[in-house]
């Protein structure tokens, strides 16, 4: 009972690197794959073209920065060597040469020490050469500072590139929405389209940001470190190069398994969320029907399943870090041992071992990053593909080049042999002709699916005709600018679309730059003013989906006020008062009557009471006009209209048969897929 129309508040999406909210590989778009990865990826790269100068700079800066950063440990290793040489050298007596020291060690039966000494660049008796050390460290500092600055420049520029690209992509999507024909919106589920422009666009932006910023530096780092390691010792490097593919394979294995677990987790999350949504939305019903215990039992089952799934997913993804660490440690141990043996044997310097250890430590991170990037890239390109599909949609034909704007219209509308169908194989309106004189009110009645809304949609030029023509004051509307056709027309639809803004802004939508007085006048004429006064914020009340403070009927009044303010030559009212209670409607009728004088009006209504005084009533069935005339004529004729009318108004006096007013005398089980035709 207390279940007002509700929409799920948009669930918070988790953005950026800072919030490890979903586990590393468990984004919402898991499992999506692009059907044409290469083509879409290339097309996405094409969007980066306008930024190519900046991208060039980014690549140069990245190469330089990574090169400097990777050189650092190598040079630092020389610092260690200087210290080591000094420390060892000091233990030897001064005045002898290095060769003498080695001989002395060998003579003392200390062959191993002799080997060690052989590999060190030392002067016996002399301590650490601080001059040389200072020199080395200064170079290292310069390398690191330079690398930091370059890396900062690179990050800065790359961010600009990505943001600018995403900005252009979003604008293109928005442009597209405003230039595809309405037919496009009919052809696919609304949710699907919404998902493309929001979820896919967001996912694309995020993937672009993350892959671009990490992919390049990660790959460069891998290459440079490999070069360094091979340069220091190719045998040790070989060892690392064996462990790396192993660790990558291991990481990929765990990732793949955790990915399936994450998919499971999100499936369960979805199921559980649906259950919660249903339980809370149908809260009152569940209670009154005494079903609470079952609902709670169901919830516990699903909750337990979700626990199992999310535990597994979390555990598996939590394994990646320790495993990588372990592999890093094994590398560390092996290099410490092998390196230690070589230093002892004099074939490698301590500083080199030191540098090598640093390199192996830094090697694993970019490798894992590249591995995880692959998933991200896939889902990003899949989203890009879906966005591109939207961008490829056919646009409506451009306005006729020679079209002239005329603002002063009288409102004479004529249909000349008009045919139109939504689907090629389903005829709707066939060869319809009709002339409406300025200032007249035309009512259109008939069952759902008869083509009533279609008729007015055609006047608005929402759709292009298959054949025939429609003229406004004698001019073919297909030769006019769309804006001109519509600017002369005010429309109130059954489904009350208001945007998220104040009541004032929503009324003012009817006329750009409307003054406060005009808004108030329109509001008063349409009874909006009356309920606005009872709202705490008055005209500043925000209209939104969850706003329980404004009822459906009140929303409808606001849309009427909006059309009232627009003051058009042609007025279209499509079930404009269906949600308004009868007393208010009666009052509204007067206002509408005022609105209708001086202009041509088309009124679609289910409540026949509201159209009784129309100049012309069209009864439509299956896209054709089966009867026309005014109320009295049609009643007298005793045809379809009279039947409808009598069904609705078999008033109380007739007593016996229970009846109902104001209901669609139509097949009630309407086909939901048809755009209310």
């Amino acid at each position: 009972m207390s279940t007002p129309p509700q929409k799920m508040k948009k669930t918070e999406r988790i953005t950026g690197h800072m919030t490890p909210g979903r586990g590393p590989h468990g984004g919402g778009m898991v499992g999506q794959k692009a059907s044409n990865f290469k083509g879409s990826a290339r097309r996405l790269l094409g969007w980066l073209r306008p930024e190519r100068t900046k991208i060039g700079a980014v690549i140069v800066a990245a190469i330089a920065s990574v090169a400097l950063a990777v050189t650092g440990p190598r040079v630092l290793g020389r610092g260690t060597d200087i210290i080591f040489a000094g420390a060892v050298g000091k233990t030897l007596p001064a005045g002898i040469t290095k060769a003498q020291a080695i001989d002395a060690a060998r003579a003392a039966g200390n062959g191993k020490v002799a080997d060690l000494l052989g590999g060190i660049d030392l002067v016996p008796g002399q301590g650490i050469d601080f001059g040389a050390l200072w020199h080395v460290l200064a170079i290292v500092l310069a390398l690191y500072i330079g690398s930091t600055l370059l890396s900062y420049v690179q990050g800065w520029l790359l961010n600009d590139v990505v943001q600018a690209t995403v900005l252009r992509l979003r604008s293109a999507v928005e442009d597209k929405i405003n230039s595809v024909p309405l037919r496009y919106f009919d052809q696919q589920p609304r949710g699907e389209l919404l998902s493309r422009v929001t979820n896919d666009m967001d996912n694309l932006a995020q993937s672009l940001q993350q892959t671009m910023s990490q992919m390049l530096t990660s790959l460069l780092t891998i290459v440079f470190i490999m070069v360094m390691m091979i340069d220091i010792s190719w045998t040790l490097a070989l060892f690392v190069l064996i462990t790396v593919p192993v660790s990558m394979a291991l990481a990929a294995l765990v990732m793949r398994r955790s990915r399936t677990q994450f998919i499971g987790q999100w499936r369960h999350t979805g199921a559980l969320n649906a259950q919660v949504e249903e339980a809370f939305t149908g809260h009152a019903l569940t209670k009154v029907f005494g079903r609470q215990e079952e609902v709670q039992a169901d919830f516990e089952v699903e909750n337990d399943q979700m626990y199992e799934a999310s535990f597994k997913a979390q555990f598996l993804s939590g394994l990646i870090m320790p495993i990588m660490m372990f592999i890093g440690n094994i590398n560390y141990v092996v290099i410490a041992v092998l390196g230690g043996l070589r230093v002892a044997g004099g074939t490698m310097s301590l500083g080199e071992v030191q540098a090598f250890i640093q390199y192996t430590r830094r090697f694993t991170q970019p490798v894992t990053q590249v591995a995880s990037m692959v998933n991200l890239l896939q889902s990003g390109v899949a989203s890009a593909e879906r966005v591109f599909e939207l961008l490829d949609a056919e646009e409506q034909e451009p306005d006729h080049a020679l079209a002239v704007s005329t603002t002063d219209r009288r409102g004479r509308v004529a249909f000349e042999h008009v045919s139109f169908r939504y689907e090629d194989d389903q005829p709707l309106i066939e060869d319809l002709s009709l002339t409406v004189e300025p200032g007249h009110t035309i009512a259109i009645v008939g069952p759902t699916g008869a083509g009533k809304t279609t008729l007015v949609n055609l006047i608005m030029r929402f759709y292009e005709l298959d054949s025939g023509r429609i003229t406004l004051d004698g001019e073919d509307i297909s030769q006019m600018k769309r804006h001109d056709v519509r600017a002369n027309t005010g429309m109130v639809l059954q489904d009350t679309w208001l945007f998220d803004g104040t009541i004032r802004d929503n009324i003012a939508y009817g006329k750009l730059g409307a003054s406060e007085e005009e808004i108030h006048a329109a509001a008063e004429a349409t009874f909006v003013d009356r309920f606005v006064h009872s709202l705490p914020d008055g005209y500043d009340t925000i209209v939104d989906d969850e706003g329980a403070n404004i009822s459906a009927g009140e929303k409808q009044l606001i849309t009427i006020a909006r059309a009232f303010l627009a003051n058009p030559a042609l007025l279209i009212l499509d079930e404009a008062t269906s949600s308004v209670d009868t007393r208010t409607e009666a009052l509204l009728q007067h206002a509408m009557a005022a609105l209708r004088t001086q202009r041509t009006s088309f009124v679609i209504a289910h409540r026949l009471s509201t159209i009784r005084d129309a100049d012309l009533i069209l009864v439509m069935e299956h896209g054709a006009i089966v009867e026309q005339g005014n109320h009295d004529e049609l009643i007298a004729r005793g045809g379809a209209y009279a039947d409808l009318y009598n069904a609705q108004f078999s008033g109380p006096q007739s007593g016996g048969a229970p009846s109902l007013g104001g209901v669609v005398p139509a097949p009630a089980d309407r086909a939901r897929l048809q755009p209310d035709a």
Partner: protein
């Protein structure tokens, strides 16, 4: 709030938490032990050329690594288990709490908000717990242990730690403190961009009809530009983050080498200790960085925790009686005695001093304009709300004293918005009567004029129904909702404007069929259209929450101006 939520819900998992703590401790100590062993390799093996020693210590290092990974993996296992169990328990407690709510509390929070809290907010806090058990616990251990180990290696260099740690903490803290509000703002602006796009798609006809495409494009461009601006801002700080952190670490290692060199030269330190010290310093700095990252999550989780606790701390305004009356003598009599109802926080009551009774076998209709309180009045009977004044009696007993199961067992409700549950036609009917047979189902469907279309569906009674019933038409939904109430054969029928989507003929047949079934029951009908209820035994006219007329159609036509107004507004066309 956050602490309380954690404390209360982690209590059952004390043992697991103890295991995680112990394992993380051992694992971290093992990790810290490695550089020290490496120092030994250099000092005692490399310098003296003792290859045997190098091999021995190497094997020992390998063993320590194994201990470390074993500990860490087990800790991750129990940490994930605890965190997910925590999430499961909070979700469950939350769900049960909302289950106990009346429509009043549900209305106060709003169903969408409750859904969000039960899912996303719990997720948010759960994520913090995961992070806490996998990373947050080890960071301080690493920090303290690292400092101790570094000082053991060389006390004289430890001042470097004292300098580097605050510097790094300050830098990461500064950058993150800039980034976090930026991220929040980015989220809001992203929502705005998406909202505008959403509105453009849902309102496309209106936008085109009013030729507002340029206006909409402007609106979008502004939102898009705002989003890009904040994206650029956040991105720049992010670009600064890692290079700066790396710089601090690198400069620290250079400093260690320089000052360590002097210590070695003076004989106060060994060369191996220098290497070890360097490793410790880096480990310490990494754990500082991690801690700073983790701290960022806390405020966000705290907000979520507050939103959860807020609901958990709310108790229902409708409390079932301790010892509810289970035996009643009468069958379905409803009586309002000066009933008053005020929504929480509202200045004026929605219902004021409503008194009338509805008897078994009689039909009572309630009419009045939108917002007069008709639906609220019906809701008082099944205690979706409790009166804030006066009382509602069912079979002579205050509904607040009746056992809820007994009360609800008497009622068949057809709400204004015909809401169906996901499942099948049959499962929805079983909501009305759990043990209903197929025959009973078909009978109920027949009464509700739903038999034909259900029989036409290929799966018949097993035809799937989507959540809310969105896969059937409005009229079908209403008829199924009626069948769901009818199958109960309740003593009290509550129809809240339940025939609005039906066409005339169906409506007539339905009412006729219902008449036979409801003959002995109490029927309350909220109606928009007067003509549908002129033959009611009693009509209550509501106006601004008050009963301004009570009687039959003919009586009211003589006495009640509001009723006359309503009738006239609907009869206008007929006034010939």
């Amino acid at each position: 709030m956050l602490l309380r939520l954690l404390k209360e819900n982690l209590r059952p998992y004390k043992r697991w938490i103890a295991i995680v703590l112990a394992l993380q401790l051992v694992g971290t100590i093992a990790a810290l032990y490695l550089p020290s062993l490496n120092a030994d390799i250099i000092d005692k093996g490399v310098v003296t050329g003792d290859t045997g020693y190098i091999m021995r210590i190497g094997a020992w290092m390998l063993a320590v690594s194994l201990i470390q990974i074993a500990c860490t993996i087990t800790a991750v296992y129990f940490g994930a288990k605890t965190a997910m169990a925590f999430g499961r328990d909070v979700r469950s407690r939350f769900f049960h709490r909302v289950g106990s709510f009346s429509s009043r509390e549900v209305g106060r929070f709003g169903a969408p908000s409750l859904i969000n809290r039960n899912t996303n907010d719990v997720q948010q806090v759960q994520m913090l717990v995961v992070m806490a058990f996998t990373m947050m616990i080890s960071a301080p251990i690493m920090l303290v242990g690292g400092v101790i180990m570094a000082m053991r290696e060389d006390i004289g260099l430890s001042w470097l730690v004292a300098v580097a740690v605050p510097v790094l903490a300050a830098i990461t803290g500064l950058i993150i403190s800039r980034m976090v509000p930026g991220f929040r703002l980015m989220q809001t602006r992203l929502d705005t961009v998406n909202k505008v796009l959403r509105e453009q798609i849902t309102g496309i006809r209106v936008i085109r009809a009013f030729v507002r495409e340029p206006f909409e494009t402007d609106r979008f461009e502004t939102a898009n530009k705002d989003l890009t601006d904040i994206g650029i801002f956040v991105g720049r700080w992010m670009a600064a983050m890692f290079p700066t952190v790396m710089l601090v670490m690198n400069v620290s290692s250079v400093a260690v080498l320089w000052f360590g060199g002097h210590r070695i030269d003076s004989g106060a330190m060994q060369i191996g200790a220098l290497t070890a010290f360097l490793s410790y310093l880096i480990q310490i700095l990494i754990s500082v960085m991690m801690s700073t990252f983790m701290l960022v999550m806390v405020p966000r989780a705290a907000v979520s925790a507050e939103r959860i606790v807020d609901v958990l701390d709310t108790s229902s305004s409708v409390v079932p009686p301790e010892l509810g009356v289970t035996t009643v003598l009468k069958h379905g009599e409803v009586e309002f005695q000066g009933a008053e109802f005020t929504y929480a926080g509202a200045a004026h009551p929605v219902l004021r001093d409503v008194s009338f009774s509805a008897k078994p076998g009689k039909t009572t209709a309630i009419v009045g304009s939108t917002g007069a309180g008709k639906t609220t009045l019906l809701s008082l009977i099944p205690r979706l709300f409790d009166v804030t004044g006066g009382s509602v009696l069912v079979d002579g007993i205050d509904v607040r004293d009746l056992d809820p199961q007994v009360l609800w067992g008497k009622i068949g409700l057809v709400p204004q918005k015909a809401y169906l549950f996901s499942g099948t036609v049959a499962s929805n009917l079983r909501h009305g009567k759990p043990d209903a047979t197929e025959e009973e189902m078909w009978e109920a469907l027949e009464i509700a004029q739903a038999k034909a279309f259900v029989a036409d569906m290929p799966e018949g009674l097993d035809a799937p129904i989507a959540q809310g019933g969105t896969n059937v038409s409005g009229g079908q939904r209403q008829r199924l909702a009626i069948a769901r109430a009818v199958i109960r054969r309740p003593e009290i029928y509550l129809f809240d404007d339940s025939f609005s989507a039906l066409d005339v003929a169906t409506d007539a047949r339905l009412r006729h069929a219902l008449k036979a079934v409801t003959a002995g029951a109490t029927v309350l009908i909220v109606a928009q259209r007067v003509f549908t209820i002129t033959d009611a035994d009693q009509i209550a006219v509501l106006e601004d929450g008050e009963v301004v007329g009570l009687g039959t159609h003919d009586e009211l036509l003589d006495t009640c101006p509001t009723y006359i107004e309503i009738v006239e507004s609907q009869l206008k066309a007929e006034a010939s």
